[in-house]
């Protein structure tokens, strides 16, 4: 797996957003991150990839982290790309909720993480039953 390309010293700007952990707020998160991605030199297709990955991460928080009231989304923009952290503060994040698989057989659910891993250049998870889930994903700008 590739390492995130944006390091603290190379960070150009940080945008933070906190949304209620409810389905109706996911669109706000994905549109806000798309607006941040639009500030970089991403293609429209790459912006759509980031948008979907962020939405999937937020949806995962809502569906798999019981008891979480908020989701925090942090965007770090750098010369090489965008790193997005999606954290919930749920009391009982369930690791099985972040299992990745393809849709080769017609079953419902479980596609979100597969999509995130397919659309982003690097993805890292820290799942802690006490702290909740912390997902860090990076998309590189094609120079």
């Amino acid at each position: 797996m590739n390492q995130p390309v944006v390091h603290p010293q190379g960070t150009l700007g940080v945008v933070e957003l906190r949304i209620p952990s409810k389905a109706e707020w996911v669109a706000v998160a994905r549109l806000a991150v798309a607006a941040v991605a639009n500030r970089l030199n991403f293609s429209i297709e790459d912006i759509e990839d980031v948008k979907l990955a962020v939405a999937e991460a937020c949806t995962n928080c809502i569906q798999h982290a019981e008891g979480s009231g908020q989701i925090q989304i942090t965007c770090e923009t750098g010369p090489d790309g965008l790193t997005v952290r999606v954290c919930d503060f749920g009391g009982s994040a369930r690791p099985e909720g972040i299992r990745s698989r393809r849709a080769d057989e017609p079953t419902v659910g479980g596609l979100g993480v597969f999509l995130i891993r397919s659309l982003m250049d690097s993805v890292e998870y820290d799942v802690n039953p006490d702290r909740g889930t912390n997902l860090v994903m990076t998309k590189k700008v094609a120079h």
């Binding site: 389905a23 109706e24 996911v26 669109a27 297709e45 759509e48 948008k51 979907l52 939405a55 999937e56 949806t59 809502i62 569906q63 393809r102 849709a103 080769d104 017609p106 079953t107 419902v108 659910g109 596609l111 979100g112 597969f114 999509l115 397919s118 659309l119």
Partner: protein, 114 residues
């Protein structure tokens, strides 16, 4: 953000579900209800028109997969109309192109039902 769902009868016993908007964790229950209602009434050959869908996530894909599973139990099928390259890409990378019939226009999707 919302999704507009229109259902109309087509040739034979087939139905077309026109979707317009964005399908995500918030709006997908509305799509699920519309498809479920058709299946509950015994309509098992469906064309779901995604031409005016600007965005779909895994919950939207899940609704389509769920609908397909249910109609297949009755010998039916679900064909999709999709021309948006970004949405086609999602079906491609998830492997759903192997499961759904995906067509560029409604006539082709309808002809493939019979």
């Amino acid at each position: 953000m919302d999704i507009k769902v229109d259902v109309r009868e087509s040739k034979g016993d087939s139905y077309v579900v026109d979707l317009n908007g964005e399908i995500d964790v918030y709006t997908s229950p509305k799509v699920k209800d519309a498809i479920g209602e058709l299946i509950d009434k015994g309509h098992y050959n469906l064309v779901i028109n995604l031409e005016k869908v600007r965005y779909i996530d895994s919950t939207g894909l899940g609704v389509l997969i769920g609908g397909l599973k249910r109609v297949r139990e009755h010998g039916g099928t679900v064909n999709l109309v999709c021309t948006n390259p970004q949405i086609k890409k999602i079906f491609d990378i998830t492997g759903l192109v192997k499961i759904f019939g995906i067509y560029d226009d409604e006539d082709a999707a309808m002809q493939a039902l019979v």
